[in-house]
C-alpha cells in the first residue's frame, strides 16, 4: 500500500511524543531540575524528551573534561600561596598553538634563574584546550579546568594572578587524578628520602672508618 512507510514512520514519532508524557507521569515531577532526573535523561535509559534546560539545569562534567588550563598552588600554613610551577617551560614547548608565555625569574643576588615564574600568561583565545600542557607537566603544576562559562566581549588573556587556583580546588574537580598523583609524589619523596638516608648512612660509615 502506498503511504504505508509514511504511516510507519509517523507511528515512531507518535510513540516518542507519548513517551515523554508517560515518563513525566512515572517520575511525578522529579524528572526536571533534579540531579537524578538529569542523570537519567542523559543515560542509555532515557526515553522521550531528553534535553537539558541550560542554564537552569546543567549537565555535570566528567572528571576528565578539559577546558582552559590553570596553575595549581599549594596552601602554606599562613595562607601563603606556594606555586608548584618551576618555570621549566615544558608546557610552553609542548603547546600546539603556542599560547603559553613564561618569563623566568632570576635570583636578585646571584642573577641565576630560580624555579619560580615571574610572569605566566595564557592567551585563552588562542588556546585549543588540547590538554597537552597538563599531560606533560612533570610537577603537576598546570591542570585543565572545568569552568566553561568564561565567555566575554573582549579579548581574554589570563595572567599569573588569574590562572592561580588552589590544590583544594583541583582536588574538588579531579579527585581520582589528584589521589593518583599525590600517591606518586609521596612515593617519589619517600624514595628520595630513603636514598638520602642511605647516602647519609654510607657517609657516616665512611667517616667512622676513617
Amino acid at each position: 500500500m502506498y503511504g504505508k512507510g509514511i504511516l510507519k514512520g509517523l507511528g515512531v514519532t507518535l510513540k516518542r511524543f507519548v513517551n515523554t508524557y508517560l515518563e513525566d507521569i512515572k517520575w511525578l515531577g522529579k524528572r526536571y531540575y533534579t540531579a537524578e532526573g538529569i542523570a537519567h535523561r542523559s543515560s542509555k535509559n532515557a526515553n522521550g524528551i531528553f534535553t537539558i534546560q541550560y542554564p537552569e539545569e546543567k549537565l555535570p562534567v566528567p572528571e576528565e573534561f578539559r577546558y582552559i588550563p590553570f596553575l595549581v598552588f599549594d596552601e602554606g600554613e599562613d595562607g601563603a600561596e606556594i606555586i608548584r610551577c618551576t618555570s621549566c617551560g615544558i608546557c610552553a614547548k609542548v603547546c600546539p598553538p603556542q599560547c603559553i608565555w613564561i618569563v623566568r625569574s632570576n635570583d636578585p643576588k646571584t642573577g641565576r634563574p630560580i624555579p619560580d615564574p615571574a610572569e605566566f600568561v595564557i592567551d585563552v583565545d588562542i588556546c585549543m584546550n588540547c590538554g597537552l600542557c597538563a599531560e606533560y607537566c612533570p610537577f603537576d603544576a598546570i591542570k585543565m579546568d572545568h569552568d566553561y562559562e568564561i565567555a566575554s566581549y573582549g579579548r581574554t588573556v589570563f595572567d599569573k594572578e588569574q590562572l592561580m587556583k588552589s590544590a583544594t580546588y583541583y582536588d574538588e574537580i579531579r579527585p581520582i587524578n589528584n589521589s593518583i598523583e599525590e600517591a606518586a609524589r609521596k612515593a617519589k619523596e619517600e624514595a628520595k628520602a630513603a636514598m638520602a638516608a642511605a647516602r647519609a648512612e654510607k657517609a657516616a660509615k665512611a667517616a667512622e672508618e676513617n
Binding site: W101, V121, D123
Partner: protein, 579 residues
C-alpha cells in the same frame, strides 16, 4: 584487462627497464618514474598489474636537492597492500604529465598540488587554484614560502620561554598587514578573473533552436552561503532549463593550510590539529595520524590500547553515520525530526568520548605508541550499555522511521547514480564506493591495527544511487556495533602506552603512509621525516575532498533540486574538504 589472479608479479623495473628505478633512499619505498614515462607506467599499472584505484597524489618539496617530488599511492580494489610511485622534477621547471586520462580521480588532487606546491600538471584540462583564491601569490607549501605573520620555521617558538614577554598576535600581524599580495597588486581594484575561468571550465551545451525561440545558458551558483552545504561551499552549475549540464564545486573558504601548520608543528603538536580536520570524527583522524607516525617510528602498540582504539574508531563511525543520516534527511526536506533523533543517540556516544578523552569533539586521545589515558572506571560499562542495548534498538527504530518512507524513496531511488566503474575511476572512498557495489573496506582489504581479529561484514550495496548511499550507513552502523560488541568482550587488561609518555618523539628519517577506513572513506596521512623534531612533509588524503571529484559527473543530467540530495549523500565536512 588481465584479471588480478593472473596479473604478473609486480616488478616495474623489469617491465620498464628504462624510466623506472626502485626508490633506494633510506626509509623510502616504491619506485621512481621518469616524468616522460609516467602516463605509460600508470596505464600499465592500471591495466596489467591491477592497480585500478589511485588513492592519493601529493607533492614534496626537497629544497636542498632542488627538486619537487610527486608521490602517488595506488591500490587494487580487490585488496592487498598498495604501491607507491614517484616522479621527481626540477624545482624551477616543475612540470609533470597529468594522469587525468588514466585515473580521472586525480582531478582535484592535481589541482591542489598545483595550488599549494606549484607543480604544473601538463594536460590537465582545468588546472586552476582550488583551495586558495586567484589573487594569491606563490605556492605556500614550498619550503621557501613564508606567511605574513611568520615567526619561525618550526615550533616551539623561542619567544615563548624563558623570556616570554607576551604580545597579542594581532599586534604583530595587524589588519591589512597580515596578507601578502603580488607586486603592484591593489585588492581594491582587482577584478576577479577567476570567475571567468571557473565558468569557462563548465561544459556548455549546444543550442538546438528548432522552435524559433531564443535559448541561453543559465549559470547558477549555489552557495557559498547555502544551508545544504553544511558550511561555506559553493557549487557553480550550468543549466539547460532545470537540468544540470555541468557542475563544479568551488571550495577553500575554510582553508587554513593545515599541512603548512603541520610542518611547523612537532609530531605531537599535530595530534590536536588532526581533530579539526573532520571535526565530527576526530578519533578516526587521530588514528590515521598515529598509524603513520608509528610506522615511521617502528613502534608497537600495547594490546589494550589497540582494543580501545578500535572501540573508539567504531564509535566514531556510528556517531558520524548517525549525524550524516540526520543531516541528509534535513537536506532533502525532512526538517529536524530525523536529525534530532539521530543527534540524541550521537550525544550518548559523545558522552563516552568526553568521559574518556575529556572532550566531546576535539578528542586528542591517541598518542604515538598508545593512548593519552586508560578508560576511566565505569566507562566500559557505559560502552557496553550502548553497544548491546541502546544503539541496536535505536538504529532499528531509525530504520523503521525512515527507510520505507515513500517520499524519501521517491526522492532517492535511482537518482544520482554512480556506477562501480565510475566510483573506482573517480577515487571515491568509503560508503560512497561501497554503495556503488565495490566491497572495498580498508579494515578488510589491508587490515591495520587489530581489525583482522573481528568478525564483521563489509557493507555493500549495488545500485549506487542516493538511497543506497543512505541505507549503507545504516548497515555500517550495525557492523560497527558488532565490532564494538566483540571488542568490549575481548579487551584485556594491561598498559596503554609503549614506553614512557614523551612530548618530543624521535622519528627516524623516511616516509610513511598511514591510512584508516574513516567514516567518510580512506583517510590517509603521508608523513616524511628528515629526523628532526618536526615532520618535513605532512599531507592529508582527505576523503571529503576527494569524494567530491565524482560530484559533478553524478549530478550531470539531474534536476537542480536533486543536487542538494546528492551532496547530502556524499557526506562532506568542510573542515576536512578545505583543510
Amino acid at each position: 584487462m588481465v584479471t588480478p589472479a593472473q596479473a604478473p608479479t609486480l616488478d616495474l623495473v623489469t617491465r620498464f627497464p628504462e624510466g623506472v628505478v626502485a626508490d633506494e633512499r633510506e626509509g623510502y619505498e616504491g619506485y621512481l618514474v621518469a616524468a616522460d614515462k609516467l602516463v605509460e607506467v600508470a596505464t600499465a599499472l592500471r591495466d596489467e598489474f591491477g592497480f585500478d584505484y589511485l588513492s592519493s597524489v601529493s607533492g614534496v618539496d626537497y629544497i636542498a636537492e632542488e627538486m619537487l617530488e610527486v608521490v602517488y599511492h595506488a591500490y587494487k580494489t580487490i585488496g592487498g597492500p598498495g604501491l607507491v610511485f614517484k616522479v621527481q622534477v626540477a624545482r624551477k621547471k616543475a612540470e609533470v604529465p597529468s594522469l587525468m586520462d588514466v585515473y580521472p580521480g586525480v582531478d582535484f588532487q592535481e589541482r591542489e598540488a598545483w595550488d599549494l606546491m606549484g607543480i604544473n600538471f601538463l594536460g590537465h584540462p582545468d588546472l586552476r587554484r582550488i583551495l586558495l583564491w586567484e589573487g594569491f601569490e606563490g605556492h605556500p607549501l614550498r619550503k621557501d614560502w613564508k606567511e605574513a605573520y611568520y615567526e619561525a620555521d618550526v615550533k616551539p617558538f623561542k619567544s615563548r620561554w624563558p623570556e616570554g614577554n607576551f604580545f597579542r598576535s594581532e599586534e604583530k600581524a595587524t589588519y591589512q598587514a597580515n596578507v601578502q599580495y603580488p607586486d603592484k597588486f591593489d585588492p581594491e581594484k582587482w577584478v576577479p578573473e577567476g570567475e571567468d575561468a571557473l565558468y569557462g571550465a563548465l561544459a556548455k551545451y549546444e543550442d538546438v533552436d528548432n522552435t524559433g525561440l531564443k535559448t541561453d545558458h543559465i549559470t547558477i551558483n549555489l552557495g557559498p552561503q547555502h544551508p545544504s552545504t553544511h558550511g561555506v561551499f559553493r557549487i557553480a552549475t550550468i543549466l539547460d532549463g532545470e537540468t544540470i549540464v555541468s557542475l563544479k564545486p568551488v571550495m577553500g573558504y575554510l582553508h587554513r593550510n593545515h599541512e603548512k601548520i603541520g610542518e611547523r608543528n612537532t609530531y605531537l603538536q599535530n595530534m590536536p590539529f588532526t581533530d579539526r580536520l573532520d571535526y565530527l570524527s576526530s578519533m578516526s583522524n587521530n588514528f590515521g595520524y598515529a598509524l603513520a607516525v608509528e610506522k615511521l617510528m617502528n613502534i608497537e602498540v600495547p594490546e589494550r590500547a589497540e582494543y580501545i582504539r578500535v572501540i573508539m574508531a567504531e564509535m566514531t563511525r556510528v556517531q558520524n553515520h548517525l549525524f550524516a543520516i540526520g543531516m541528509f534527511l534535513n537536506d532533502i526536506g525532512a526538517f529536524f525530526t530525523p536529525s534530532l533523533y539521530a543527534i540524541e543517540e550521537r550525544e550518548l556516544v559523545l558522552d563516552i568520548f568526553e568521559i574518556v578523552s575529556g572532550s566531546r569533539m576535539m578528542c586528542n586521545y591517541f598518542r604515538f605508541g598508545g593512548l593519552a589515558r586508560d578508560l576511566p572506571a565505569g566507562s566500559l560499562e557505559m560502552i557496553k550499555g550502548l553497544a548491546f542495548e541502546r544503539l541496536p534498538r535505536r538504529v532499528d527504530e531509525m530504520d523503521r522511521f525512515l527507510s520505507d518512507n515513500e517520499i524519501l524513496r521517491s526522492r532517492c531511488v535511482g537518482q544520482g547514480v554512480l556506477s562501480a566503474e565510475d566510483a573506482i575511476k573517480y577515487a571515491a572512498a568509503g560508503p560512497m564506493l561501497r554503495a556503488s557495489g565495490v566491497p572495498y573496506d580498508i579494515r578488510r582489504a589491508d587490515p591495520y591495527s587489530i581489525y583482522d581479529r573481528f568478525d564483521f561484514d563489509v557493507a555493500v550495496r549495488y545500485n549506487g544511487d542516493i538511497y543506497d548511499r543512505y541505507i549503507i550507513r545504516m548497515d555500517e552502523i550495525r557492523q560497527s556495533l558488532r565490532i564494538i560488541q566483540q571488542a568490549v568482550e575481548q579487551i584485556p587488561e594491561g598498559p596503554i602506552q609503549t614506553g614512557k609518555p614523551q612530548y618530543q618523539v624521535r622519528v627516524p628519517a623516511g616516509e610513511a603512509y598511514g591510512r584508516v577506513e574513516g567514516p567518510k572513506g580512506e583517510l590517509g596521512f603521508y608523513v616524511v621525516s628528515d629526523g628532526k623534531p618536526n615532520p618535513y612533509r605532512y599531507h592529508v588524503r582527505a576523503p571529503s575532498f576527494i569524494n567530491l571529484t565524482a560530484f559533478g559527473p553524478m549530478c550531470t543530467g539531474l534536476k537542480i533540486a536533486d543536487v542538494v540530495a546528492v551532496l547530502g549523500s556524499i557526506d562532506i565536512v568542510l573542515g576536512e574538504t578545505d583543510r
